[in-house]
């Protein structure tokens, strides 16, 4: 069934990476939680992240029981939900904002909200507003069949995750199945800034690249320009920064202050990749 109103004219996730590779660049991928402090701030934040040079933006859909998230993103989700943020209101906002962005959006959501809506219906509605990709952290490879089928039918790239505890054979299967990019979780744990990123990431990147030429983006824990630079040096094709960005918006005294600090921080992170 054809979908109307494909409003995004940006490249998809894989194409973005191809272009960056061609230009010898590493992707900068920030993450923010939709609705914290409120959706209009999120809309502004998306535009700022875009103009400051983000190559892809991950947008989190707040959920009541986020198993993969640490205290910063948990708190952001709780605040967003308390304000009444839900998928419909997020999609309404995206409908307005995505046409103004030059980089693609990947939605980061847990599985139950997708199931509640119906997997196919979910894909249709997010595609309608111009979302390009999807990350679902609580669906392991064995359970992704339905998601992958529906995502691919509707041209949504389903990004899969691999971690330091994933055995090599399994990692191979995951990278073979992932679309857009492979999300390499940098550490054994949940989201949240870390003081340093484990050296294991470097060897994991090498192992993955020995198996596949698909782009790999590293996430979890990355919170400073130094970390970002290090990931690029270790061979990452993309660097994801989540909690550190969410914290800036969440801790700010006002949305305006948050957006201002967000701009400064984003520029400092992006500059580490130039």
């Amino acid at each position: 069934m054809a979908t109307l109103a494909v409003v995004s004219s940006t490249l998809g996730l894989s194409d973005t990476f191809s272009k960056l590779k061609h230009d010898g660049k590493v992707a900068f991928i920030p993450y923010i939680t939709a609705g914290d402090p409120d959706l209009s701030t999120t809309a502004e934040a998306l535009k700022i992240l875009d103009t400051c040079g983000s190559d892809i933006i991950e947008l989190g859909v707040p959920y009541s029981d986020p198993l993969a998230d640490g205290p910063v993103i948990q708190a952001a989700a709780t605040r967003a939900l308390a304000r009444g943020t839900n998928l419909d209101s997020i999609l309404d906002m995206l409908k307005q904002v995505i046409p103004q962005l030059s980089c693609p959006i990947a939605l980061f959501t847990y599985y139950n909200p997708i199931l509640k809506r119906g997997v196919e219906k979910f894909m249709i509605t997010v595609k309608e507003v111009g979302v390009h990709g999807l990350v679902v952290p609580d669906v392991p490879l064995e359970e992704t069949e339905l998601l992958r089928q529906e995502a691919s039918k509707h041209n949504i790239e389903l990004v899969l995750l691999t971690t330091p505890t994933t055995p090599r054979e399994r990692m191979k299967a995951i990278v073979e199945a992932t679309e857009g990019y492979l999300y390499l979780v940098s550490s054994i744990g949940v989201t949240g800034a870390r003081a340093s990123i484990s050296g294991k990431v470097q060897s994991l990147l090498q192992e993955i690249k020995a198996e596949s030429s698909k782009p790999v983006a590293v996430g979890f824990g990355i919170s400073t320009p130094e970390h970002v630079k290090q990931m690029a040096e270790w061979g990452a094709d993309g660097v994801i920064v989540g909690s550190a960005v969410v914290k800036i918006l969440g801790d700010a005294m006002s949305p305006e202050e948050g957006l201002k600090k967000l701009e400064e921080f984003t520029k400092s992170l992006k500059s580490a990749l130039i």
């Binding site: 029981d65 939900l81 392991p140 054994i188």
Partner: protein, 461 residues
């Protein structure tokens, strides 16, 4: 007499490799219910063929509880962050190996007998039976399976001891657990003290307030109790936090999940560790009246005591199985925990099952006077048994449970847990419909000492 010489209580979780004679006819039953021994192959899910062959395989796998992916029909599975997947398969492999580990079985057997106090009696509740006699003198016979007599006062310890032993086998020295009312937390703290394991219990800050006695007990037993303030600060949030801890510390830590919920292999494993309840019941029923129970009744929160009783009898089609959930303030009040009656299918804490959720798929905070039933999900195997019509699920309000709490105390001198009181309350509706002499076995899953403070607030005695 604690156990029969064939250690029949242990064969519940052994694979068909065991050829020890058993006093109960479980061998054919095990064939239908155990997992396949060969390792899980990822490629079978990946290829196109898998969808085509699945139709033919459905007939086959529907009989498997669970199938190799940990599914009971469409329920169950492993919906967790990738970081945990290896630990889950490691856990399953270790659990499977127990089938031929006689040392483990002997040790567990000994602990269940000498430390937990098994086997628990099957008690004929004379005055309760009298209470349900109709004017013409006819009525069912009520038997109580006395899990309340176990060490720590509930069935929870069966699973806790076995998992603690399993953790030691895995070389994990750090144990974490979630708890609602505190009974599973107390059972876990108890076994960690017994086996010298470091113990951390996650408990919702709200729950800690209403079950202060259990918090004290856990700390007295040497456990660290961590308050969870996120979300609604109740059991579901404690469970989420325990899962996050496990994601972070998976290499050193074993997560003793307290019910037949969560990702595979937990629903299967916890069921097998509680299956001793049903196995003993079969033997005891045979001894007492030379037959099987006609009806099994148990309360359902996550579903562990119910699965422990039901599992043995699932293949005995003439045995009726009834699970009783918490209707809280009433099914239409929006304040209940009747997941199987009012919930919808979704994914919570690693498993696909019925759960209480709002229109956006956010998990709702349930309500029940009994903290142990106050969980918005339910074990996936119960969801499966409901859907195939093998078991029935009803619900009982706070008020009805409190009445039953008083009733058993007065009629039998047994103060039941508020959770158990829900099952007891259902007898009021069930017994008038049963034929004369029908044998009802109700799982008396816990004793009610822990509930006196709550009872004082609500009851005039």
């Amino acid at each position: 007499m604690a156990f029969s010489s064939s250690s029949s209580n242990l064969t519940a979780y052994t694979a068909t490799a065991i050829t020890k004679p058993s006093s109960s006819p479980v061998i054919r039953f095990n064939k239908a219910s155990t997992f396949r021994p060969k390792p899980i192959s990822i490629s079978c899910v990946m290829t196109q063929q898998s969808t085509n062959s699945s139709a033919a395989a459905v007939e086959d796998t529907a009989a498997l509880r669970p199938d190799p992916l940990g599914r009971f029909g469409k329920f169950g599975g492993k919906y967790v962050p990738e970081t945990l997947m290896y630990a889950l398969s490691e856990l399953e492999t270790a659990f499977r190996a127990l089938a031929t580990d006689y040392e483990f079985q002997k040790k567990l057997d000994g602990i269940l007998r000498d430390y937990v106090g098994r086997e628990s009696p099957l008690y004929f509740a004379e005055r309760l039976t009298e209470h349900y006699k109709r004017p013409n003198g006819e009525g069912p016979e009520i038997y109580l399976k006395r899990e309340d007599l176990n060490h720590t006062g509930a069935h929870k310890i069966n699973n806790a001891v076995a998992q603690a032993l399993l953790a030691k086998k895995l070389g994990k020295e750090r144990i974490i657990a979630e708890t609602g009312a505190g009974q599973h937390g107390v059972a876990t703290a108890t076994v960690c003290a017994r086996f010298g394991l470091k113990c951390i219990i996650y408990m919702g800050a709200q729950d800690m307030e209403r079950q202060a006695l259990n918090v004290f007990r856990m700390r007295l037993l040497g456990a660290e109790v961590r308050a969870v303030h996120s979300g609604t600060a109740t059991l579901k949030d404690a469970t989420s936090e325990a899962i996050r801890d496990w994601v972070t510390n998976v290499e050193t830590t074993h997560y003793i999940l307290g019910s037949v919920a969560g990702p595979h292999p937990y629903p299967m494993m916890v069921r097998e560790f509680h299956a001793v309840i049903g196995k003993e019941t079969r033997k005891q029923a045979l001894e007492k009246w030379g037959g099987k129970p006609d009806v099994l009744v148990a309360c359902v929160g996550g579903g562990s005591n119910a699965m422990g009783l039901f599992h043995e009898f699932v293949e005995d089609k003439e045995v009726r199985m009834i699970g009783v959930e918490a209707a809280g303030f009433g099914l239409d009040s929006g304040k209940h925990a009747a997941t199987l009656t009012k919930g919808e299918v979704g994914v919570l804490h690693g498993a696909m099952s019925y759960l209480l959720q709002d229109d956006d798929g956010q998990i709702i905070e349930p309500h029940s006077i009994s903290a142990g039933l106050d969980y918005p999900g339910v074990g996936p195997e119960h969801s499966f048994l409901k859907d195939i019509g093998r078991a029935e699920y009803h619900s009982i309000t706070d008020e009805e449970a409190l009445e039953a709490f008083k009733r058993l105390s007065r009629l039998e001198g047994i103060i039941p847990a508020l959770e158990t009181s829900h099952a007891l309350a259902y007898l009021e509706k069930l017994c008038p419909t049963l034929p004369n002499g029908a044998k009802v076995v109700l799982n008396c899953s816990g004793r009610g000492d822990k509930d006196v403070h709550t009872a004082i607030k609500h009851l005039q005695v």
